[in-house]
């Protein structure tokens, strides 16, 4: 693991930025210092607005409400027209890449699909959707109750949502460590 990765992970785990382990690196590395700052800001916002803990059965009630709803999605479902327009507008969804990829496949072997790119599960229908995210972008795929799929891309460069990127990284760290602990 690179030193900066170690530092950001320690910060995520709640290490003190002013402590002897982190302080020297943070003083020398702007990227990690920015990181520490955004985490401190998040922590402060959290302690100021922390909600009450829910009664234990609350989420069970919510889950059973979901269970009672008609939620069967039609599959495979193609993208809706609105979704297609959005996709067309989103520069990072690389139709061209798909073309290059298909062309690469046909060039490599016109008869047989490349096992690296064909649908991997024999019993699984082909995917109807393909998306690509750029560095720093957050890709949200929304599946509506009637089975439409809408792509939403948050780009910190154009929306000054740098805090989103920090939040994401924190969530990934946390989830990875929780899952690893459970092993």
């Amino acid at each position: 693991m690179k030193p900066c990765d170690k530092i950001t992970r320690s910060l995520s785990a709640g290490a003190d930025p002013a402590g002897p382990e982190l302080a020297p690196h943070l003083a020398a590395c702007e990227r990690c210092a920015d990181w520490a700052e955004s985490i401190t800001a998040l922590d402060a916002a959290w302690s100021a607005t922390r909600p009450a803990e829910p009664p234990a059965q609350l989420f069970d009630q919510i889950w059973s409400r979901i269970d009672a709803q008609p939620t069967r999605l039609p599959f495979p479902a193609g993208p809706s027209r609105a979704a297609l327009r959005r996709l067309a507008a989103a520069a990072s969804i690389l139709v061209g890449l798909g073309l290059a990829w298909l062309w690469g496949l046909s060039r490599a072997n016109p008869r047989q699909p490349d096992p690296r790119t064909s649908p991997p599960l024999a019993t699984t229908p082909a995917v109807a959707y393909q998306f690509e995210a750029e560095p720093g972008e957050t890709l949200f795929l929304h599946i509506t109750p009637d089975g439409r799929v809408e792509a939403d891309i948050r780009d910190p460069a154009t929306t000054s949502e740098t805090i989103t990127v920090a939040a994401e990284f924190e969530i990934l760290n946390f989830m990875e460590s929780q899952a690893a602990d459970a092993l």
Binding site: P54, G96, L99, T138, E168, M175, A180
Partner: protein, 162 residues
């Protein structure tokens, strides 16, 4: 062969990659295949997000503010999280309860843009609801949220590390 290279370059241009720095260096034409033994740490998790109340699962307390940055005005419950180091075509399943399960399969551990490609699926009692191919930079999450008629969301997050 020269024509194929030109065509490939044109397709890359269409795809928004910008001009190759030196066209003559575009050899071999196809990006080199990733090493067969390449692995990636893939993490999949599921959270129930409720707009009707801002209740918080105590297990999610360490990242509550981060979740609220991404999904303002929601309560959150952790449904499941799984992480595994995957080889090419390796997969992992995250059970979410109520018959829901999220699956991720590593398709390409490193493409020519330095990204990974995953196949992601959501099913319920083995019945596929959604499947997609996503190409993403490393160390970055993408989200898929399955919305229910009452506004509740099943939020799935997927992240890949080197």
């Amino acid at each position: 062969m020269k024509f194929l290279r030109l065509l490939y370059s044109a397709l890359l241009l269409v795809a928004g990659f910008g001009p190759p720095r030196v066209a003559a260096q575009l050899s071999p034409v196809a990006p080199p295949p990733p090493p067969a033994n390449a692995t990636r740490q893939v993490t999949v998790f599921g959270i129930l997000a409720t707009p009707s109340d801002d209740a918080l699962d105590p297990k999610l307390e360490p990242i509550a503010e981060q979740l609220r940055v991404l999904f303002p005005g929601h309560g959150f419950r952790l449904l499941g999280t799984e992480t595994r180091r995957l080889r090419v075509q390796g997969d992992l399943t995250c059970d979410l309860g109520l018959g829901y399960a999220a699956h991720a399969r590593l398709i390409n551990p490193l493409d020519s843009n330095g990204k990974v490609q995953l196949r992601f699926e959501l099913d319920r009692y083995g019945q596929l609801e959604f499947a997609t191919l996503v190409t993403t930079p490393l160390n970055q999450l993408f989200f898929c949220d399955r919305r229910f008629p009452d506004g509740t969301r099943l939020v799935l997050g997927i992240g890949v590390r080197p």
